[in-house]
Amino acid sequence: MKSRSRRQLRLTLRYLAIALVLIVFLFPVYWLFMISFKTPDEIFSSPPKWWPGQIQFGNYAVLFKDGDVIAIWNSITVSFASTAIAMTLGTLCAYALARFKTGGENLAMWIISQRMMPPIAIVFPLFLIYVWAGLVDTHAGLILLYTAFNLPYVIWMMRGYIEDIPLELEESALVDGCSRWQVFWRVVVPMARSGLMATAVFTFIFAWNDFLFALVMTRTEVITFPVQLTHYMGGQSNFWGKIAAMSVLGSLPVMLTVAFMQRYLVRGISLGAVKG
């Protein structure tokens, strides 16, 4: 009896601790969302109000009216296109690495080391080339950049997922007279479907969240939402309403990811090192 009440107490304490942790970590997110629903008067009241008087979408309406949402659209198109290309090229390459040991362990190591280079060391050389090639501030330029930036990730992740597929399936398809190409499309791709989905989603998020490449390579035409966000911040005046509303719009896709991809999250963010 005594031990049961002690267990009860322990459980209650654990829940309390968990609640405390969640409050600390989620409060800034709450604050961001709340500001996006506030009126300017409420945003600029000191001391700050901890909840909005009423939920209103004025800050979002302004983003649409001023045409700033084009930044979200740019983010969508660039992230989507680069993900599609990186997934196609990367999965093919991953298949070669996993099944044909193309280039051996050295090639695989070179590929993953590309992922780990700091973007700042790569972005300046690339900028020089982009100026020369006229790719600055073009969709194609940014798409190519994100494709290249994400390829190592796709190759590394998909190699892991493909290695998990039993080899016998491919062998029997070959015996049945399939060409390598057919084996890839009809056996490997369907078998790796969930891995493909998860990898594609994370690839999309990496492109979506990037700031440095977009900051350097865009001027007016292809500004993505993180760059747009920094335009609202000034030394003296900040457009808090716009900052909050744009941040929320830019965060919704990644929040959906966590909700639907939780099973793949660990493997996805640990570069496949932890199978979760």
Binding site: L26, V29, W31, L89, I129, L144, A148, S251, V258
Partner: protein, 297 residues
Amino acid sequence: MTARYNRLSTLIDRNFGRIAAAPAIAVLLAVSLFPLIYTIVVSFQNLTMLDSDTSFQGFMHYRAALFDTRLWAALGHTTLILVIALPLEIILGYVLARLFLEQLPGRQVFVALLVLPTVLSPIVAGATWRLMFDVRFGPVGQIVSWLVGEPVTMLWTVNPTLVYPAILICEVWQWTPFMFLLLLAALSNVDQGQLEAAELDGASGWRVFSKIILPAIRPVLVIAILIRGLDIFRIFDVIWVLTEGGPGTMTETLSIFTYQIGFVQFDTSYTAAISIMVVLALTIALTWALRRVEALK
């Protein structure tokens, strides 16, 4: 026709590995090797915003970089953030992972909620903390005032004693959940039988940790440290939003510094030389680190 097609398809089949790998490798080479060679060339010239002197200058810029106090300071700032944030994230992440380890009703939802900061764009994280830290309209100053019992004015992003805490709070807030998630996965794989046996033997908490838990989670820990360490080494976004490297150059990290001289001052050749040095140093460090990680497996 069919004979020719057959021959072609056997040719493709025989070289399928190389053919499948080629396009991706080509893109990677185009975006890494080609600019790298170009940059090496530029780093030996003397291009600035005003000057387009393409004559050979030898190692002038490399030598200048070695004696550039601002560069070394930037490296110091980066290291400072690294050595404080990384251990904090590991310890906090481990404590949280222990807290969430046991099965509880609603656990999956709690984990998903806690992971939220990690998937946000770092720019959004920085913007969020700018809102939080704002001296007049943010809640942080208000909370501190309550705790202290008197009104305090905290200029988090301007005051020299507060800029590093501000950056570290944002950094640790965003990436502790990352450590938490990986360590949670690692801890769930620790052999329960071993733990119970140790408990029956009356082993101390520290002995259980150092003899059973730590060896079991070490591979994941190493990967997590490698990924986070490299990420913090290139920290840019959060600082750009919070302080832009200021006040002065107080919070200028390696990435911020390189951006400033490359894209604000347009010291083209000098930036090229620094880029090359960073790439070289990191390639050596990475090759070493990855070998070690491979050896762990």
